[in-house]
């Protein structure tokens, strides 16, 4: 009896302790995060900026969710199977409502895919979908058809452009109004949007899945990187997206805040124009790649946050093949230049965008190439003028951010045009083929072969894989280090 009383007392004390602890850590009902730019649109199929999806994925749901390992999880779709190589059948949830009360059905899925195909911003992503021959079997079953076998289908459907919009809402409002007043089925809905200043989301209490922990989420737009960190320091926000490398130290010295840093899908690559007579010589390309001390370069520019590229695309991406860093060997570079008929080097043009990292990378490369006798004229241009130059300039720099090999490698495709223009039929064939292999192992092998080929032919010289960096208040919990910065706010909580 006494034992029992004691046990009961202990349980009571424990309970008290737990409740007391919970009282100490009261949840805040608003989470404030600082982002670097405002959304261009809330229309997922008209979006191609990371800043857009960052918010949209909390408002819209997708059919499936593909995690970093490449495993596919159900979302709006409960199950799926291939009927043949060109037909994929999805069973859908029947308990999902859009924010305006409308019921989600297979019509909305087909409608969203059709929109993707019609908008030039997403058309290339949805190129393999055959919307006209896709069939709605019943309101909760859809058979998607493809023009050719499409391996990246789950990546596309789980990506931002794969967000399912309400057909009824878009048709009622028209696309332009919808772009400001999104109707999705996600865990949050848009409460208000002050252009260029802030976006407020409020919890969707009728969400079919686990409801959001924090009631309100506010995205504050602060373009200056240093100011985002200052806002965190002064308590204006709880979390910061896209912290600059030179602000890391500042955050680390703050009380009650920390840095969350991890691999991302961002990379920097040096590109050579294949229309140029000089650079179409493989020895010259090899010489230029040997002349760069990649480690010194990357350490200097990214202050130790980035890693030296040891493959043709980011190591976080599917089927990455570790090729090793291209060695730094000035003697070999000079030897190859002499062999190619340029013992005294040559002069060439190097075009970059006027972003800080690009400029610093290019200036250091300029010096490294000068050491082997290659003189470089640097041209810095704004984004719009940069892309308009095509391959008039011999060397260029490319900053990319994607998590699907077929999207990353599109620059080598003849259909892409401009910049590289290898017009390499063998490579075109390999790229087109890899897209159609549905078997994961065989597909990985195909991409492995492409990476081998690209490493060998050296149309590009991969330089750096840059990380994703967040700064968080210590009171924030549930924030994952997502490589694409797509944080699911419904799982994030913040304490007072």
């Amino acid at each position: 009896m006494r034992k029992r009383v004691l046990a009961l007392a202990l349980v009571m004390i424990a309970l008290l302790a737990v409740t007391a602890g919970a009282a100490d850590r009261k949840l805040k009902d608003t989470l404030r995060v600082a982002t670097w730019e405002d959304l261009k649109t809330m229309d997922p199929q008209a979006s191609n900026f990371a800043s857009n999806w960052l918010v949209q994925l909390n408002i819209f749901d997708r059919l499936v969710y593909e995690d970093v390992e490449g495993d596919v999880h159900p979302r709006l779709a409960t199950s799926w199977k291939y009927l043949d190589d060109l037909t994929l059948e999805f069973k859908l949830r029947n308990d999902v409502f859009f924010h305006d009360g409308g019921k989600f059905t297979a019509e909305d899925v087909l409608f969203s895919i059709k929109r993707g195909k019609a908008n030039p911003i997403s058309a290339s992503t949805f190129a393999a979908f055959d919307a006209d021959h896709s069939v709605i079997v019943d309101p909760y079953t859809i058979r998607l058809k493809f023009v050719k076998p499409y391996a990246a289908v789950f990546n596309t459907l789980s990506g931002g452009r794969g967000s399912i919009v309400s057909k009824a809402a878009v048709e009622k409002m028209g696309a332009d109004v919808f772009a400001r007043n999104p109707v999705g089925s996600g865990p949050y809905k848009l409460a208000s949007w002050k252009t260029g200043t802030e976006i407020n989301l409020v919890r969707n209490d009728k969400y079919w899945g686990e409801k959001a922990i924090t009631k309100n989420v506010t995205y504050v737009v602060i373009p200056e990187a240093a100011n985002r960190v200052i806002e965190l320091e002064t308590g204006g926000v709880d979390a910061v997206f896209d912290v600059a490398a030179n602000d890391i130290k500042r955050v680390k010295s703050m009380k009650g805040a920390h840095i969350l840093m991890g691999d991302s899908n961002r990379y920097m690559t040096l590109t050579f124009s294949m229309k140029d007579k000089l650079l179409s010589n493989k020895d010259v390309r090899y010489a230029l790649s040997y002349a760069i001390d990649k480690k010194a370069l990357v350490d200097a520019v990214y202050e130790g946050t980035a890693t030296v590229a040891d493959g043709m695309y980011p190591s976080t991406v599917y089927a990455f093949k570790r090729k090793g860093v291209i060695p730094f060997d000035q003697a070999k570079a000079k030897e190859l230049l002499a062999k190619a008929g340029y013992p005294n080097g040559f002069t060439m043009n190097f075009l970059i965008e006027n972003r800080e990292a690009d400029i610093r990378l290019a200036e250091i490369i300029q010096n490294m190439w000068a050491a082997v006798g290659v003189k470089v004229k640097l041209f810095t241009m704004s984004a719009s003028t940069y892309t308009a130059q095509g391959n008039k300039y011999q060397a260029g720099m490319r900053a990319g951010n994607a998590n699907e090999p077929s999207n990353i490698l599109i620059i080598y495709d003849s259909a892409f045009g401009e910049r590289l223009e290898p017009n390499d039929p063998e490579l075109d064939k390999m790229l087109a083929n890899a897209k159609t292999i549905l078997d994961s192992k065989k597909r990985a092998a195909a991409y492995g072969a492409i990476q081998d080929y690209l490493y060998d032919i050296r149309y590009t010289v991969p330089l750096a894989f840059t990380p994703v960096i967040y700064a968080l208040s210590d009171k924030v919990e549930g924030w994952t280090c997502d490589p694409l910065q797509q944080i699911e706010m419904s799982k994030v909580s913040v304490y007072q």
């Binding site: 649109t41 058309a123 290339s124 252009t195 373009p223 100011n227 320091e233 002064t234």
Partner: protein, 313 residues
């Protein structure tokens, strides 16, 4: 006068953007777009038509419907986007100019009336610093001192009156330096005039002499400078807006230029030209309040006008 100016501006900006290198399709569709995506985009936005056709289509929209086009990036009407941001810019400009006038005119008068005194030297050197100090640097210093160290004011944004203080001070002190120098030199000139001596000789108090006789006559150049600064600020104080993360017209324009969002840039420039013309008009009207001679040029007695008509007939 305003209409030909605006048409001229529209043509100049349209041709500049048309002939400037860079293709909106490249920038807006991003790096994973294929050539056929770009063609689709150009066709959807009428970019495949010849130059004059594009210009006439644009002007038709502007004149008939007051439609400045649709932003390539957000697909929203350019007019809506500018109108959404203009109140912020107007508020920042008005606050800054008000601050600049208060500081500039008062310090200007003091240093003119006490020429070569310590106060004068101090004020002139302060205004030299004000003119030469870069706006963005001053903004950052203010943020560090008042937001980070003292924690009195928020570092960025423009939502509450507390948020207004730092940006308005940044822009205002910079603009006040010009106004102060103009006030000083204009006052110095007037103070040496005979009628000031007369006023003093007549036993008028110094306050009335300065405020009524001297300042009123020195107003014309001051109004000009204030009008110019106000007009310039309404076009957007780009640097200040960037530093304080204020979503104003200047920031909107710079972002549009970066993305070669042609309709937004054109609409923005036209809008700024329009606002500038309005400000100039207001300044002209203010001249006539300050100077009866100018007013008299426009308000001829009725009888004289009739006489003039008769003469003409």
């Amino acid at each position: 006068m305003m209409i030909p100016v605006l048409i001229g501006v529209s043509f100049v900006i349209f041709s500049m953007l048309y002939f400037a290198p860079g293709d909106a399709a490249d920038v807006i569709l991003g790096d994973q777009a294929t050539l056929s995506d770009k063609q689709l985009f150009r066709a959807q936005n009428g970019l495949d038509k010849p130059f004059l056709v594009q210009y006439l289509n644009y002007m038709k929209g502007v004149i008939l419907r007051g439609d400045l086009g649709t932003s390539y990036v957000t697909r929203q009407p350019v007019t809506d986007e500018i109108i959404a941001r203009f109140p912020t810019t107007l508020r920042l400009s008005a606050l800054s100019v008000a601050l600049a006038v208060v500081i500039g005119v008062s310090v200007g008068i003091i240093s003119a009336t006490r020429q070569y005194s310590f106060i004068d030297h101090f004020a002139t050197s302060l205004s030299m610093i004000g003119v030469s100090m870069p706006n963005f640097w001053q903004g950052m210093m203010l943020i560090i001192v008042f937001a980070v160290w003292l924690r009195w004011l928020p570092p960025s944004g423009f939502s509450t009156p507390l948020h207004w203080i730092l940006p308005a001070v940044t822009v205002g002190t910079n603009a006040s330096a010009n106004i102060m120098r103009m006030t000083r030199s204009s006052m110095l000139e007037i103070i040496r005039q005979d009628y000031i001596r007369t006023a003093r000789a007549k036993g008028q108090t110094e306050r009335v002499v300065i405020m009524k006789h001297a300042l009123k006559n020195a107003l014309i150049p001051i109004i000009t400078v204030v009008g110019l600064s106000f007009g310039r600020l309404l076009g957007g104080a780009v640097l200040t807006e960037s530093i304080f993360s204020i979503a104003g017209v200047g920031k909107l324009m710079v972002d549009a230029i970066k993305l070669k969002n042609t309709p937004m840039v054109q609409g923005g420039v036209l809008f700024i030209a329009f606002v500038m013309s309005i400000v100039n008009l207001v300044v002209d009207v203010l001249y006539s309040f300050a100077d009866p001679r100018i007013r008299s040029m426009y308000t001829r007695p009725r009888t004289k006008k009739l006489a003039a008509l008769k003469e003409g007939a």
